[in-house]
């Protein structure tokens, strides 16, 4: 993108001026190099989001923004129900509540390094990953509904984890307002064999070493120190979320005209928050959030069991669990007054500031842990929410590196076997059912995550706490 299209209003903050039917301006957080690398579709999609009814303050894009569908990936927008605001199935996307969970292992690099291949094999054997993989759980209709209401809380009650895990999950593990009656039988059927599965594509389970600590006090509060080993799990609401996204996208696209909403892009399909369709979607989407939270909770327990097989007595504790494809009702101060807004984050992470009442006590002084996933060969980061971020983009930060290369181009350029061998030479063990899948997810197919995280830090969206690097990765 040519930066001349934007007005620079800060070191890492650019404004897309209001034109045409835009109701608010666009704001993109990035440094100049990231802006230059950004797809021209990003400002187009930021502008389209700015045209939706009831949008408040601005249509935001995070430093990892790239061409999505309807919303850019890395898009954030809040809507006020009192001003005709909408909820958008396109704005949440297909993989509802896709997110990242980080576990502290209590183990050091020195302990894990000699056994990392065995550990990778054990994890690969026990964590269902890739196309056609199935979980061990089969839920009855009543159990399915209980899972959709209870989220990670339900999973803990079934023996997957401990009650202490729940306070380290957004919404304390259970999204309120979930309504399983709003989830179609087709969506429930699609989930039948998929509880406790990782999925495919960019989803992964990674064993990582903490290599750098930037903020020692916060890192200590998070229980992180250089040389520690952690685990990151990246996945979402599986087939249930995909089907809910598919069904409501269609219904909202067809219903928009009747609701008097002009869609600049069909993918921005939405409905008034205060409408029967909007309320049905919110009930179903929240159920999908619970499905994702339950899924990551089950995977956490499978991970614990795999670790115990290799490191008897290891205690894996949840550091935090964040979702980055959601719409949530939150209170934000706008122009000096608190307002209840429906905040859409599409490929963006919530980043509550220190003192936020929804944070567990452990994070009141530090702000929310913000978990930013990298790709197989690159770093991932732990950040923390800031007061500046709370007033910038509705307490939001980036979610990952973002692709710089299409899957096709990546497959043409990289062979899966070579990617695995190159990473092995760097000490990173990859286990995946698909070599072409590995090629599509090659580290060089992604943007420089360090630049993305630095821009988020310099923009004040969140502050850097620690960097982790992969030791072993199970790729779906």
């Amino acid at each position: 993108m040519d930066p001349a299209r934007l007005t620079r209003i800060g070191e890492c903050e650019w404004q897309l001026p209001m034109t045409g039917a835009m109701r608010v301006p666009g704001i993109i957080y990035a440094d100049e190099a990231l802006i230059r690398d950004m797809d021209d579709k990003v400002p187009e999609q930021v502008a389209n989001v700015a045209m939706l009814p009831g949008i408040v303050k601005a249509s935001f894009a995070m430093p990892d923004a790239h061409w999505g569908y309807g919303f850019p990936i890395g898009g954030v927008a809040a809507f006020d129900p009192d001003e005709g605001g909408v909820v958008s199935a396109g704005g949440v996307g297909f993989d509802i509540s896709c997110g990242v969970r980080m576990l502290r292992t209590g183990l050091s690099v020195a302990q894990v390094e000699p056994l990392k291949r065995v550990l990778a094999d054990t994890l690969f054997e026990r964590i269902p990953a890739g196309v056609g993989s199935t979980g061990a759980l089969r839920l009855s209709a009543d159990d399915m509904d209980a899972m959709l209401r209870g989220g990670a809380g339900w999973a803990v009650a079934q023996g997957y984890g401990a009650p202490g895990d729940l306070e380290r999950i957004e919404e304390h593990g259970t999204m309120a307002g979930a309504d399983p009656r709003r989830v179609s039988d087709a969506a429930k059927r699609r989930q039948r064999d998929e509880m406790g599965t990782l999925g495919s594509g960019n989803h992964y389970l990674e064993v990582q070493r903490v290599t750098d600590v930037y903020d020692r006090m916060t890192a200590e509060s998070f229980g992180l120190a250089e040389g520690d080993v952690v685990v990151s799990i990246h996945c979402g609401s599986r087939g249930l979320g995909h089907q809910i996204g598919t069904e409501f996208l269609r219904e909202m696209a067809i219903g928009a005209k009747e609701a008097g909403i002009v869609l600049p892009d069909r993918e921005l399909a939405c409905a008034p928050i205060r409408s029967a369709l909007g309320e049905r979607y919110l009930g179903a989407m929240r159920a999908a959030i619970n499905c994702a939270l339950a899924n990551r909770q089950i995977l956490t327990q499978l991970t614990r069991r795999a670790f115990h097989a290799v490191f008897p007595g290891a205690r894996l504790e949840v550091l935090y669990d964040v979702s980055h494809n959601t719409c949530k009702l939150e209170t934000h101060v706008v122009d000096g007054r608190p307002r209840k807004l429906y905040v859409h984050r599409k490929g963006a992470t919530r980043a509550f500031a220190p003192g936020h009442p929804d944070l567990p006590l452990a994070f009141h002084a530090t702000g929310q842990p913000v978990l930013i996933g990298g790709s197989m060969g690159t770093s991932s980061y732990v950040l923390a929410g800031t007061s500046r971020g709370a007033t910038a983009a509705f307490a939001s930060a980036c979610h990952g590196a973002g692709r710089s290369m299409s899957r096709h181009e990546a497959t043409r350029k990289f062979g899966g076997r070579k990617v695995v061998d190159d990473l092995a030479a760097r000490g990173i063990v990859i286990r995946s059912p698909s070599m072409r899948g590995v090629a599509e997810e090659a580290p060089l197919a992604y943007k420089d995550i360090a630049a993305v995280v630095d821009a988020a830090d310099r923009a004040g969206l969140a502050r850097k706490v620690a960097r982790v690097q992969p030791m072993a990765c199970v790729k779906g």
Binding site: W67, G70, V131, R190, D193, S200, G239, L249
Partner: protein
């Protein structure tokens, strides 16, 4: 008749080209299969009947791909041959394929859904029908 993929930043576009809308839809479904695995390695052993109805031809195309995606996900199948009939804004089809064999098919990625991004069903300058959209993987 042909199918191809086209680039999208995060995901992938599928495109079918044919002399009729039905052929273009069939070819696009092959392009969808090819996102997951090589269609040449999938035996057309079992037929699954599918039907869709939509307010317009573009939504019908997205519905068609989503019906195939749903059949793949819930039947654990891959499809390599499609027979399709379009009547106005409704279609009936049979998708032929087999159960996923992870060793033999080497499936790459699940498709989450057909998006409305770059969605179009139209004739090109030469009169061929082209049906396309981006799918989320």
């Amino acid at each position: 008749m042909a199918w191809e993929h086209f680039a999208h930043g995060a995901d992938i576009g599928v495109r079918g080209i044919g002399a009729t809308q039905a052929e273009a839809f069939e070819q696009a479904a092959l392009a969808l299969t090819a996102v997951v695995a090589d269609p040449a390695g999938i035996a057309a052993q079992v037929g699954v009947d599918l039907c869709c109805e939509a307010p317009d031809i573009e939504l019908l195309f997205a519905d068609w791909l989503n019906a195939v995606i749903y059949a793949m996900a819930t039947r654990d199948m891959l499809f390599s041959r499609f027979e399709l009939r379009i009547d106005g804004h409704a279609l009936t089809a049979t998708a032929w394929g087999e159960r996923v064999d992870r060793e033999r098919h080497q499936p790459v990625v699940e498709v989450k859904g057909a998006t409305y991004t770059a969605l179009s069903v139209a004739q090109d300058a030469g009169g061929a029908w082209v049906a396309q959209c981006v799918v989320d993987v």
